[in-house]
Subunit: 145 residues, 2 copies
DNA sequence: CTTACTGCAAATCTTTTGCAACGTC
DNA sequence: GACGTTGCAAAAGATTTGCAGTAAG
């Protein structure tokens, strides 16, 4: 965890962003909840418990930067806000199962799309840099209803 | 086209929604632009040219209904608004290539995911009803930059 | 004639921006 | 010390809601 934190700070520095206490804290909040897909609001809520001074705009600005330098990326689960996830989390082969009843998000690994990507690049001349695959449906607990 | 329009009206009726002129018009706008992925704002803009009286809230409310009864579904291309697409459009095997430079959206067909879905249902006991696959990258025109 | 639907305006919610004060390098 | 960064408050967008009037079945 400390290792990741340090490498993210380095990446910020490389891109000549300053390592401020707020940015470090936001990174720590994200690392502590790496399994969660937090939204800006949620990051702010947790961050405020650690430092009540921190502003929501700072959180938004930091997440934007972390997205730009590819530490995070945005995901939309259709619940009205942008959520974030670390980019290096099994990078290319992890997808999401989203329950349309309770909203739970389950992660799922598979590398089937590698093949598809190469095929797309050949066939359509579109240069693929990333993909997102979401399955909607009902989780185990919601199927009875 | 007329056939689809009629069947959509029927579906509205079945669910005991009224067939108002506004709803008919919104459906026609959507059918006339079935290749486009319009947002609520865009639907309203086109609709207003046909009937300047129509209100934006009506458009939002109608799109919500059409989504609920599965005539449309929402897609998010990361441009800050919800876009819509007919649900029956090659339903299960059409995906999107989104250019992160110019924002162009290219459609792409493939049925690879059918297999994956069955596999997920077996493996995770998640009941899949739909999926969304998006590839991000650079379209032909933007690759030179 | 009843109940759902509409248009408008106001409200809400998420995200962005302007700006003076502040802190990192 | 310079310049990027912060917090706050205000602004901006997208979407939702309340309500009185209107119209579909």
């Amino acid at each position: 965890m400390q290792k990741k934190f340090d490498s993210y700070c380095e990446r910020l520095q490389e891109k000549s962003y300053k390592i401020t206490p707020q940015r470090q804290m936001i990174l720590k909040v994200l690392l502590d909840n790496a399994d969660k897909h937090l939204s800006a609001e949620e990051v702010h809520y947790i961050a405020k418990q650690r430092d009540p001074e921190i502003g929501l705009a700072t959180v938004y600005r930091t997440l934007e930067i972390l997205d730009n330098i590819n530490i995070l990326h945005k995901i939309d689960f259709g619940d009205g806000c942008i959520r974030y996830e670390f980019s290096d989390k099994d990078a290319h082969n992890h997808h999401h199962l989203i329950c349309i009843n309770c909203g739970r998000v389950i992660e799922f690994n598979d590398d089937l799309l590698e093949t598809l990507e190469t095929w797309i690049e050949k066939k359509t001349k579109f240069e693929v840099t990333n993909h997102q695959l979401k399955f909607f449906g009902y989780c185990k607990d919601c199927q009875s209803e």
